[in-house]
Symmetry: C2
Subunit: 410 residues, 2 copies
């Protein structure tokens, strides 16, 4: 809408969008009042773009230091030489604070106001990360990572330690209305014994907590899960109550087909599509058009540091491009369009956090104001301006960021 208005209530929820103030029930006078007599503050963003803020459905905060390095390695040496040694450093809360502060600030910089985050297995630095999100006023589901096999000693916890850590975090943070909440986070099936997975599922059920993990990213991983659990990947999570019994998001789903796809649909398990990571890690490209055709819910994830870019606008571009590679092989399924990936990053991903990601009435006002004057140097339509910002812009053009109605300033 050109030169429109978004009306936001004092509790941070959108009450309407319109081309003129009168249709929002506002009398333009000094001071402005609504028809019921309430004062109205009007903020004029001029010719800037006002869009819903970004949501990142899959990101490893604890791999922030490794963002953009070791991309020439394959998955296994990358995990062993870079990922696990890095995560072990988070036993030190001083180190964690230094990295996590930068991480939260960078999310903010790129306009991501909500994220599903993997921390590490360390309870204290996970708590610290949650405090940093609280301080910032941004939304996050933060996961202490449960893992007790196929990993270095320093990252492994017993089931009891895992539960104890979660109980502490839950006691402090589990307000269903809060912006920052815990999310049950088994790393993935190969890292967790059946006892660990069962305990995670029970924890999620007990406190009605959401769940996140990784699913069907890589063919070797699929075979390994089959060996460990004697069943297919999604069914393994499902067996332990980690597959939609509470709201669940699974990252990657590159090889999700048939039974697994149908179970995700039936259980309303959401897909965190990480196209940048798909290309960097070279494990395969998730068939998102097929997922959408089948009615799965899909959002986007940056997957730092398998993905290299925290900027969800860039991830949108990659989502289109990965989809075009599917299209190249099979012209029967059209590639994803800009409006579709924009929707995936906003309203679709936002649904995992509540009524988030749209300016429809009742939605929380998470928004970005974009000053694209340096990109808008000729006669561009509104849609072209948005497309140019998505393809060419960066954090420099984001001039205001709102989460749940509050401007977030750092």
């Amino acid at each position: 809408m050109e030169n429109g208005y978004v009306a936001v209530d004092t509790d941070g929820r959108v009450t309407g969008v319109a081309a003129d103030l009168a249709s929002l029930g506002v009398n333009v006078s000094e001071p402005c009042r609504k028809s019921n007599g309430e004062d109205v503050e009007i903020v004029d963003f001029g010719d800037r773009l006002l869009i819903p803020a970004m949501n990142d459905l899959h990101v490893h905060a604890s791999q922030y230091r490794n963002q953009g390095i070791a991309m020439d390695l394959e998955l296994l040496p990358w995990l062993q030489k870079y990922t696990f040694p890095e995560e072990m450093k988070y036993a030190d809360t001083g180190y964690a604070e230094r990295m996590y502060r930068r991480f939260v600030r960078d999310l903010w910089r790129f306009g991501t106001m909500r994220a599903c985050v993997f921390a590490t297995s360390h309870t204290e630095s996970t708590r610290l990360l949650m405090h940093l999100f609280q301080e910032a006023g941004m939304g996050a589901l933060v996961g202490k990572v449960a893992m007790n096999r196929n990993c270095p000693e320093g990252l492994s916890e017993s089931v009891e330690e895992m539960l104890q850590g979660y109980e502490e975090l839950i006691a402090e943070f589990n307000n269903p209305e809060a912006l920052v909440r815990p999310i049950v986070t088994p790393r993935f099936v190969p890292s967790c014994t059946p006892e660990m997975l069962r305990a995670c599922g029970e924890l999620a059920a007990k406190y009605r907590l959401p769940v996140q993990s990784h699913l069907s990213e890589n063919k070797d991983e699929l075979a390994l899960v089959q060996t460990l659990e004697s069943i297919w990947y999604g069914a393994a999570y499902n067996r332990y109550g980690l597959f939609g019994q509470t709201p669940t998001v699974m990252a990657h789903c590159v090889y999700t087909r048939g039974k697994e796809l149908r179970l995700m649909k039936r259980n309303d398990v959401m897909v965190a599509h990480c196209p940048t990571s798909n290309l960097n890690v070279a494990s395969g490209m998730a068939p998102i058009r097929q997922f959408l055709d089948e009615g799965l819910r899909v959002g986007l994830g940056s997957d730092i540091s398998g993905g290299h870019d925290l900027n969800i606008f860039r991830v949108m571009v990659y989502a289109i491009q990965v989809s075009k590679m599917h299209f190249l092989r099979n012209h029967a399924r059209p590639f994803l369009t800009l409006p579709e990936v924009f929707w995936m990053a906003t309203k679709s991903a936002g649904s995992f956090f509540g009524k988030v990601g749209s300016f429809e009435p009742g939605y929380e006002f998470d928004a970005l104001v974009i000053d694209d004057s340096d990109l808008n140097h000729d006669h561009y339509s509104l849609l072209e301006r948005l497309e140019r910002y998505i393809y060419l812009g960066d954090d420099r053009q984001i001039v205001h960021r709102f989460c749940r109605g509050n401007e977030i300033i750092m």
Copy 2:
């Protein structure tokens, strides 16, 4: 090299690289002198990265306005609705100047000091673009685009008009030592009658001018060329003296195999690999590992506006990712590594412009100074710093730019 020195002569050529001044024959005294008594100016860039500047082997300056829009369209409607109408505007030199100034400045911003550029068929605005490069002090091979079929009237020229325009530009610019020179530019076989192609080849031979065009990007295009010329694509260019008879660079080469590949090798025709464009236009992914194995010379191109990003560092990342998609299908050919794509964007692409793209003795000093302090927040190795800059950095970190020994300031 950590804390090294690059020695540059007064004519802008590198004379050596060393870890200490003494091995470069410099006595560190006030004022600094070389052993032969000449004064030496020493510039200390501290902890910054000093690397060769970027070279872009394929970019359409005249599609600058369309950068980052209409990406949801397929090739044909995109050409008809966006590309051709846009290029027709360059009949107006006022419009051309407004766009070309921004274009040259953006190349500069992202650290590209040399480029092979497509202008349009309009002689006057092509001349203007060449003047803008001259003013800037940057290197460019600029092509007035020859085309006389399958295109709108406003872009079509007769063979005589084409030749007349080129003669004017050559008279003004054809100094083999100059930074800015003309390059013979038939748009591609489908846009040029045999007479036009023959005239282009004769022109290149007459003035020993380099040649650029498009090759084997898309399967429909291949079939069309076969119909028009009754021969395969590369052979059609070769027939007219446009395939290595003078230095030649061909963009895309997605479907170049067998005979065409061997002819390119034999004639030393260079490949401009445009991975961003490969993904956006969804015509296919060029098999670069195969080209390197066969001994072809390969550089990188941004291909604005089929590609959306003018930043060659981003194009490097895409080159690795596209290569990983080939690797995914066939593990027998390893994917391109960071050092390889860095070499492609510097020394390999630079070879099309002369001794450009390296700090070896005798090379022209084209260089970037990168202040990566905001990305270098932990203990990273030199190679990791370079990798992080390539994956995460942008124009903000480029603090000095040199072309042929001169600092280029805008």
